[in-house]
């Protein structure tokens, strides 16, 4: 903080009186940001630093957290242990593939719904937007519990629907006609498919509404002109709408990536806790290592740091890409 003031002081000294006066007014935004920064520092930066610090120690007793016991420094041993564990590769693969699939599906579905909303009349658009926003407004925990019931193996809606299929058709397609007692979450692939459904359902409304907001700012003349020139909807989207909304899509992809990399609630509820290790992803892996007895806070912190670093790298790449496209 002190270096910052010194630096601005020096800069100010070199400037002409007229510019200095303008400079003084420019302090205002920083002052207004101060309360926010202070809160972020206390609630976010401090714990973040703490997690990084913890990841370099062997912490397996709650008493160490309290300061009753020493924190033995282990350097990078926690990281070495995680990265050397073949299980980490499974977890990383799960996380990356899941995030890729979910970002793609969320973006596609969200954009389609956004385009639809843009074309609908006022009343219908309000109706559809409200319905869509309900999914966004449902708390992750509540929503996921309902989804879990929908896939219940005895009384779930999906089980009931599949049981309603004509026996011959069901047997021909899936090799079974009685679905009561079918374990929907047994197979990891099936588990991830349901998890994807739940996560996409939760997150596409935000994309849809953001895309809609972007579309509203695009002058309709552009699209009309393209249409008059004989472009189909596909062509109009890729040649007119998408280039104009590119910054919006950039931001949305970054946000979705961050959200989908750290999905926790939905997975925790659907899997019924931390039992199903074959479907672990980084966030639940970190949680399970840190807090399941016996606790391993150091190891859990190291996994959390790895997850954060991956996210930072992904985000940095995207931001660079978006900025470069802006320059073109």
């Amino acid at each position: 903080m002190t270096t910052l003031t010194e630096a601005t002081g020096e800069a100010a000294a070199r400037e002409t009186p007229a510019r200095r006066r303008r400079r003084r007014v420019d302090h205002l935004p920083y002052l207004l940001l101060l309360p926010c920064l202070a809160i972020i520092a206390v609630l976010l930066l401090w714990p973040l630093g703490q997690v990084v610090w913890m990841s370099f120690h062997k912490l397996d007793s709650v008493r160490q957290l309290r300061g009753d016991r020493e924190w033995p420094w282990v350097g990078l041993a926690n990281y070495a242990q995680i990265l050397g564990d073949p299980f980490f590769r499974t977890v990383l693969r799960n996380t990356v593939l899941f995030a890729l699939a979910n970002v793609a599906l969320t973006m596609i579905l969200g954009t389609l719904v956004g385009l639809l909303l843009n074309r609908l009349g006022k009343k219908m658009a309000t109706f559809v937007a409200s319905c869509v926003m309900l999914a966004w407004a449902t708390p992750a925990l509540t929503g996921t519990i309902v989804w879990k019931w929908i896939f219940d193996d005895t009384s779930g809606l999906v089980t009931w629907l599949f049981n309603k299929l004509p026996d011959g058709l069901s047997t021909a397609l899936f090799g079974r006609s009685d679905w009561t007692g079918y374990g929907w979450f047994n197979d990891p692939l099936m588990f991830f498919a349901i998890l994807t459904l739940v996560v996409v359902w939760h997150s596409f409304p935000f994309i849809a509404v953001s895309v809609l907001a972007g579309l509203k700012s695009v002058p309709t003349e552009l699209q009309e002109a393209a249409r008059v020139d004989g472009a189909g909807p596909w062509k109009v989207f890729w040649s007119v709408t998408f280039p104009v909304l590119r910054p919006v899509f950039g931001i949305l992809v970054v946000l979705s990536t961050i959200w989908d990399f750290k999905v926790f609630t939905q997975q925790f509820v659907l899997a019924g806790g931390t039992q199903d290790r074959s479907t672990f992803m980084l966030s639940i892996y970190s949680y399970a290592e840190a807090f399941s007895p016996p606790p391993k806070y150091g190891l859990g912190s190291a996994i959390a740091v790895i997850l954060t670093v991956i996210l930072l790298v992904v985000t940095a790449l995207y931001v660079r890409m978006v900025l470069r496209q802006e320059d073109e």
Binding site: L28, L34, P35, A38, V62, R63, L65, T274, P293, P294
Partner: protein, 430 residues
Amino acid sequence: MNRWKRLAPVTAIVASAALVLTACGGSGDDDKAADNSKLTVWMMGEGGDAQTKFLDSVEAEFKKKHPETDVVVQYIPWLEAPKKFQAALAGGEGPDVTELGNTETQGWAAQEALADVSDKFNGWSEGKDILPDLVKNAQLDGKQYGVPWYAGVRAVYYRTDWFAEAGVKPPTNWDEMVAAAKAVQAKKPGTYGIALPGNSELPFYSFLWGAGAEIATKDGDSWKSGYNTPEAQKAVKFWTDLVTVHKVAPPAAAGWNEVDARTQFATGKAAMAFAGSWQGGAMKKDNPDIEKVWGTFPIPGPDGKPAPAFAGGSDIAIWKDSERAALAWDYMTVLLSKQKDKEFASSLGFFPVYQDLVSSGDYANDKVMAAFATAIQNTKLTPLTPKWVEVSRTKTVTQAMNSSVIKGQKTVEKATADAATEMESILNAK
């Protein structure tokens, strides 16, 4: 306009100061003095009128000796307990006395959450009659960290009406069990012969021990898993065959825990389920009529003898950070006295922990409790090491082994070998 611009920074500073001050507020608790006016007791579960009334009577008795102390009871849901304990331990504000599941006592003792009560326990005459397996289960490195409060074992609940319709009797060995399940399932289409808790370990251990295998044995300094023995493989094969070969339980059973499974039984979808005597109340809540048509029998071994059962239950311990350990112990001796113990255990459907009370005729002649009274005569424990909780709860080695066979991901040989390797690497980790 100009005046506003000049005022703005002031406003910003005042606002930020106010925000920071409010954010820092609310941490003014400073009552450190070890006063004896209050004894905090944590109890597991949801409580209920019966338990409140019982604990009130314990407090009244305790107050005869300590009239100045109020007992404050707080209920902690079972699943919340580990988080609550960690938070209490990290923050330094815990209870004085706490109940805890007897599979968790060693783990929390290793975390230095519980006080060593060896001397107090050894000097307490009634404690000598407590079932030795339960006492051992609350020890770590030869020191006593908890005192058993009540005990429970699992048995099989079955539908007496369906068994009668199918013309089968309660089975006494494995083959009869499969035959009975098949017979009932044939008679009652759309139901399962056995509600198998494929994702639970404790009922399975009865089959493992019944087949003559051990979970793990200590050889000098290192643990050796018993899972890669032919006996263990026989048990895993029987357990998983119920789904894959005999089809008396559905594939979804791979993900069922004990509550899922017993709900199938309570709601009339299964003919048999593994459950403890204390779970009868929950089943009656699901379906009040189930009581009229249920019976129990001990989990059979392969050869006709009842299989050993896991000695489950609850311990009472003194929180290590408590500054009122002597007071806490006085409360415990009232709570755990033979007379109070019998009173309370019976009201919950558990057994008291005292040898002489368990073997009394009261239980052997009860229609439902008789099977449990037989089972509790022959109990076994999971490996006595604080690392066991990682095998059991975190890595769920046994559950994963059984599930992977039920789901068809591994053969019995591969699953047992993998589980043995993983178990040994956890138990022998430095």
